[in-house]
Amino acid sequence: MPGQKKVRVYSLSTCPTCKRVKKFLSDNNIKFENIEVDLLDSGEQWVASKELRKYNPEATYPTVVVEEVICGYDEELLKKVIEIK
């Protein structure tokens, strides 16, 4: 659906602060992709860490990424999402 936000959480299975963030999202009925980086195998871990650094160069946890997907040329939605006055 255009304009729908996608939420992704980079987390560690051992980190209580990560658990708090995920509980907050669940309590507010927010669907999210949960990437527990410490539970990935080394190859996947390398890829996930590299991806995480695009958003958070320090690669700290938790990191919550909120993305909005806009398809086609929808000026109104572009203005709203990118906050163009």
Binding site: L12, S13, T14, C15, P16, T17, C18, K19, V37, D38, Q45, S49, P57, E58, A59, T60, Y61
Partner: protein
């Protein structure tokens, strides 16, 4: 060892160093469970809020208490993961902030 047992040990340790464990006991027990999980899988208590490599010499600075705990507690009243805090932090007399990562990226 159980998180509860480790709690008793670290509570004494913290007091001996003039600091305290975070007064949110459930949160602390969660951290300690993370430490014990890391000890089980890596053989050492790597910080539960940082990604370990599993190679001890590479992770030596984040073995709890991590190398950054003292300067973090001095500056922010809390260590990075929130296990060790100052008396003032527990009392709420200083502002609670997200402690930034002091560790240099490798």
């Amino acid at each position: 060892m159980t998180p509860e047992k480790l709690y008793e040990i670290l509570d004494k340790y913290a007091k001996s160093r003039g600091i305290e464990l975070n007064k949110d006991k459930d949160f602390v027990l969660d951290i300690l469970a993370g430490l014990l999980k890391n000890e089980e899988r890596y053989g050492y208590r790597s910080c539960p809020c940082r990604l370990a490599t599993g190679i001890q010499w590479k992770d030596s600075d984040i073995i709890c208490p991590c190398k950054y705990a003292e300067p973090d507690i001095k500056e922010y009243g809390s260590c990075y993961c929130g296990l060790y805090v100052s008396k003032e932090w527990n009392e709420g007399s200083i502002k609670r902030v997200v402690v930034p990562e002091r560790r240099k990226q490798t």
